[in-house]
């Protein structure tokens, strides 16, 4: 999240699209309600289904799943056509004036794709800027040049007129215009609009571009960096933000440092490849510090046991061009390429797209370790529906672990807020905190390597692991404070360091001293930091995440003494864009930062140089400004509407290119497997005529591994359902509450029908198209089963749930940039149980 939860209270217009916070982020409505009550804020909700959030909205507009870019592209056109953008902001703080390579072709002139498409990959040579002899980007601040970003943006979205958009999205034109008008009203300096999204935007083949489209809108309206503005990614799990920050994903090291690839042979080559440069003279280009962060991270892994270069050599590398995301992992597992697998705090047998493939894949392993609170569909996959235990060789080990309230540590939530949590109770039985389990495994594996050797032995034996000691009980106990201190970082030697921003002034540090902030990190190996963005979280003032101060001098709800946010306790990032060139807030009634004449007051300033310095505020971008034109993505510098891979329409009304051309299809020879089948790709498939989307309910969490075992929660939401319109139910002769089967080419699930006016058929270019929706929290293990199916140690739920995983239906197709599966728009059939 660019801003934070409390900040919703500062908004004038709140757009809920791609999310359902009333159900899934209930506390967010405390702040949304406050904005409505105290500011008279307007709440808009765009969703295929009339949700609990829609029930609270002033305006609700339906749209067909997978058509968000068309909807928002139309809003861009509306803003530009009606001159509703914040002109000064756009001029100063975005790349609107940059001149683009005249050879760039936009989809409107190029059969629906950008120039440079070679197979399913873009050659981005034409997605570049015009530069002068000095390498500086050419600009036209008057926005008149036909090749300037502003004019290209206007041209690109001129095709997104409300009539076409309405035909694509199925949104009535009057509703479309009502939403456009209300949201575009925040383009004034004294108005703020925020957008709230979650997996409703990410889980598409155009997921990243969905969010990009909103970023463009927020930049045009001057809503980035201001109080009540921003793009709010509401995380789907309490520590998703933290785990991403700390390198959970394959393509980044902690702190968003791009993972090295095999072709980058030395640390120097790696640093050069990952460190951007710029010729823009006032741009700070913060990522120029990359070598300091990579060196400090390598030190946190190996300390001084090896040199920096050796540490780099010991770190795993990606094969060039290879993808190691979820879909690929389970595809490779299905093809027998893995020996063993740790499912740690996860339940892929229910959470993985195309769960049938995932469940089959796990049968190809020699061993699997399931670390979880309860047995789940993953640990027991071998005895799940349709499985013959006699034929499965995989040996499964269950390691019971502690729940979040049974151990100490921190979580980082959507607000980038790192909050320390204390242990409330001891874990039951033999369950251990994850850190203890990891320590046990680490020391055992290390011992085995030392005894028997093995490939890249030193990668393990040289690692530093100062997180806890073996105690009298023979176990290693992990100390979360030791980890938090390592994440913050410390000096590895006595060192005199020049004070950042103060030439000639020095400060001395002793070996072991914490690094105060990332501005002090070094590229010579004298500092260690496990995650540079968290530097400052556990420094000389101790554990900042444990703070519980409730002062708020800002008056806008920053609460800077409550826990700690990365980076440097900044509560609203990009806040350098909330002020004009003189440091005066665009909206003096809602200042995030302000220049008093000799200093900044308010939030920790972001990118704001002293007024007059000419420094553009988006310092994480090499050229210092925000990108309306974004050549960094795999599938286009501007978002373009493409249909979901599985869709109910014959053609894309926007262009001859039906689907995102840069996606990786698993049904192509040599890519996926025999199990990767789709429907309705080339043309509509009458066997699967309805769109389906997945979502959550308030009462359950993720695949329900924790919540399905809670009798009170299971009592309220006891099982799988499918929501559908009255019209569809009539067509299929389905009554409310009846059992039905939802099928896709990949699987089927049984569900209770909820026949509801909250789903309505869409009119898509004159055709009636139905959409249905299903929750993804359920799984077979908490279903009632015959007594004979319970083993001696099996836990039996007090309240059974009904139904198996929604992901048995979802396709193995991912976003062109992230490979997140398209679980929010795929095709199914719905039939009454017992009717073929």
């Amino acid at each position: 999240m660019t801003n934070h939860w409390v900040d919703f209270r500062n908004s004038d217009v709140i757009l809920i699209m791609g999310s359902n916070p009333a159900s899934n982020h209930p506390v967010s409505f405390k702040w949304i309600q406050e904005a409505i009550d105290k500011r008279g804020a307007r709440l808009l909700c765009v969703d295929p289904r009339f949700t609990q959030s829609a029930a609270k909205a002033h305006v609700y507009a339906p749209l067909r799943s997978g058509t968000d870019i068309a909807f928002l592209g139309g809003m861009i056109k509306y803003i530009l056509d009606n001159n509703l953008y914040f002109a000064e902001y756009v001029k100063l703080y975005t790349n609107a004036s940059f001149l683009v390579n005249p050879a760039l072709k936009l989809p409107g002139d190029n059969n629906g794709v950008f120039s440079g498409l070679e197979g399913s990959k873009y050659n981005k040579d034409t997605w570049s800027y015009q530069t002068g002899g000095d390498g500086v980007i050419k600009k036209d601040p008057s926005f008149q040049d036909p090749n300037c970003v502003f004019q290209l943006l206007k041209k690109h979205y001129s095709r997104y007129n409300p009539d076409v958009v309405s035909k694509i999205c199925g949104t009535p034109k009057d509703k479309l215009l009502e939403i456009y008008k209300e949201y575009a009203s925040t383009g004034k300096p004294d108005k703020a609009g925020v957008e709230l999204y979650a997996m409703g935007w990410t889980q598409h083949t155009v997921g990243v571009q969905n969010i990009r489209t909103m970023c463009i809108i927020q930049l045009l309206l001057g809503n980035m960096g201001i109080a009540g503005g921003g793009v709010a990614a509401m995380r789907g799990e309490s520590n998703v933000q933290g785990s991403t920050d700390h390198g959970l994903l394959f393509h980044i090291w902690p702190g968003y440092l791009g993972t090295p690839t095999a072709s980058l042979k030395t640390l120097k080559e790696f640093n050069e490849k990952r460190t951007p440069t710029t010729k823009e003279k006032n741009s700070l280009n913060w990522w120029k510090n990359f070598p300091k962060y990579s060196a400090s991270f390598l030190r946190s892994m190996y300390g001084k046991n090896v040199t920096l270069e050796e540490a780099y050599q010991l770190m795993p590398k990606l094969d060039d061009g290879a993808n190691y995301s979820w879909l690929t992992i389970f595809d490779q597992m299905y093809k027998g390429k893995f020996t063993g697998f740790f499912a740690w705090g996860m339940n892929p047998a229910c959470s993985g797209a195309h769960s049938n493939k995932v469940r089959q894949a796990m049968g190809k392993l020699d061993w699997m370790v399931n670390v979880n609170l309860f047995d789940n569909e993953t640990g027991s996959f071998w005895r799940g529906p349709g499985m013959d235990p006699a034929k499965i060789k995989t040996e499964v080990f269950m390691l019971p672990c502690a729940a979040s309230m049974e151990k100490e540590g921190s979580l980082a939530n959507s607000s980038r807020l790192m909050q320390w949590r204390y242990k409330a109770v001891n874990p039951p039985g033999v369950a251990l905190p994850d850190g203890d389990i990891m320590s046990e495994i680490y020391f055992k594996v290390k011992e085995l390597y030392e005894k028997h050797g093995g490939p890249l032995k030193e990668a393990l034996t040289k690692i530093t692991w100062p997180y806890g000691k073996k105690t009298l009980d023979g176990h290693y106990h992990y100390d979360p404070h030791a980890v938090a201190k390592e994440i913050n970082g410390f000096f590895l030697e006595d060192k005199k360091v020049e004070v950042p921003n103060k030439k000639g002034e020095f400060k001395e540090f002793k070996k072991g001293d914490p690094v105060p902030t990332f501005a002090w990190l070094q590229d010579d190996g004298s500092t260690s930091s496990g995650c540079w963005v968290y530097c400052g979280s556990y420094a000389d003032k101790g554990n900042m995440a444990a703070r519980r101060g409730t002062n708020d001098a800002s008056g806008i709800g920053l609460y800077p003494e409550w826990a700690w946010t990365w980076p440097v306790n900044r509560r609203i990032i990009y806040n350098g864009a909330s002020v004009d060139l003189n440091g005066k807030p665009w909206d003096p009634k809602r200042p995030v930062i302000a220049w008093t004449g000799d200093k900044w007051v308010g939030d920790v300033p972001d990118g704001a140089g002293d007024p007059g310095s000419g420094r553009p505020p988006f310092i994480m971008k090499p050229d210092g400004v925000a990108s309306l034109f974004g050549p960094g993505l795999a599938d286009g510098p501007f978002p373009e509407h493409y249909e979901p891979l599985e869709c109910p329409v014959e053609k894309n009304l926007m262009s001859p290119q039906k689907n995102n051309p840069a996606i990786k299809r698993f049904d192509k020879p040599g890519v996926g497997s025999d199990m990767d089948v789709y429907s309705g790709v080339a043309s509509c498939d009458p066997r699967f005529p309805f769109i389906c989307s997945t979502y959550r309910v308030s009462e359950h969490w993720q695949t329900g591994v924790l919540t399905r075992w809670c009798p009170w929660l299971a009592e309220m939401q006891p099982g799988m359902f499918v929501e559908m319109s009255l019209e569809l139910a009539k067509e299929r002769n389905i009554k409310n509450g009846e059992k039905v089967i939802v099928k896709s080419p990949r699987g089927e699930v049984e569900a209770a029908a909820i026949v509801t006016p909250r789903f309505k058929p869409f009119n898509i270019d004159g055709n009636i198209v139905h959409e249905v929706g299903i929750p993804w929290h359920f799984g077979w293990i908490t279903q009632a089963r015959p007594k004979s199916k319970y083993g001696p140690v099996d836990k039996k739920p007090e309240v059974f749930t009904f139904g198996d995983a929604a992901n048995l239906l979802t396709p193995t197709i991912g976003d062109a940039n992230t490979m997140i599966p398209e679980s929010k728009a795929f095709m199914v059939n719905v039939v009454k149980k017992g009717v073929i």
Binding site: A22, P26, Q33, Q52, Y60, V697, G719, T756
Partner: protein
């Protein structure tokens, strides 16, 4: 101590059911097997193990749109409580907070309260042979805490506080909302201790009486005849006769037995 009430503002409720869960947790009410019947509302009705139920209700509006209401249903805690009037054993009583407490150990399962309650709140449990209902978390109130449900509410839809303050707030809120929004509860049964701000006519909401009152029969019986009967020698007979006239002959009361959902 000033009189307190619980105020439920339907316009602020998102249906997250934190209140329903908090009620179960504080009162340690056993969960029962339910099944999906085509609505999020579950259990389907108030039960002996469910003192508080969030009612989910959908309605198509005149403009082709749809509305979805989430109503907090629990004991209204009448000031003039029919259940207390009819309870012969003292199991139901007025607390020092003027709410209606329940002491199940005194309950003799006569079920008079079920017939008397204008809001259809008390539920009979055949396993324990007792009546159950919300007691506004008397155990919390007597420790200076508000009821668990209000504590759990994230949006401010459900709040606990001084009667005067909250009633003022309720009227102000109804006015702000406009469009026919109104306060429900303070004008009935000498004022309820669960007061609503509602946006639709009472008749629109499922299981909500339009103008609740203590049944006339009970007023006659308990407030008029009972005192008289103490004076009259034939009082007992007259009472029995009246009871027969009003309630008719004793019939099996299967309807009032909570059916627990099951069968999965």
């Amino acid at each position: 101590m000033s009189e307190k009430i619980k105020l439920f503002d339907i316009s602020k409720c998102t249906g997250c059911r934190g209140c329903q869960l908090a009620c179960k947790q504080w009162n340690q009410l056993e969960a029962k097997q339910t099944r999906h019947t085509g609505t999020y509302q579950n259990p389907p009705d108030l039960q002996a193990n469910t003192y508080l139920l969030m009612r989910f209700q959908e309605m198509a509006d005149a403009k082709g749109g749809v509305k979805w209401f989430f109503r907090h249903q629990a004991c209204m805690h009448c000031t003039d409580a029919a259940c207390v009037k009819v309870c012969p054993s003292g199991a139901l009583y007025y607390t020092t907070f003027k709410t209606v407490g329940l002491n199940p150990s005194k309950c003799i399962a006569c079920k008079e309260c079920i017939a008397a309650c204008p809001f259809d709140i008390p539920r009979y449990d055949d396993k324990t042979d007792k009546i159950y209902k919300c007691d506004m978390c008397e155990s919390r109130l007597s420790n200076n805490l508000g009821p668990a449900c209000a504590k759990a509410c994230p949006t401010g839809a459900l709040i606990w506080g001084d009667k005067d303050t909250l009633l003022k707030l309720a009227y102000k809120r109804a006015k702000e909302l406009g469009d026919g929004a109104y306060v429900y509860g303070d004008k009935y049964v000498d004022g309820t201790h669960l007061v609503y701000v509602l946006q639709e006519k009472a008749s629109v909401y499922a299981a909500l009486p339009k103008s609740p009152s203590v049944p006339l029969s009970i007023v006659l019986w308990k407030d008029v005849l009972k005192p008289l009967s103490l004076l009259a020698a034939g009082g007992v007979l007259a009472g029995s006769f009246l009871h027969y006239i009003i309630h008719g002959p004793k019939t099996p009361d299967d309807d009032s037995v909570t059916k627990t959902e099951g069968g999965e």
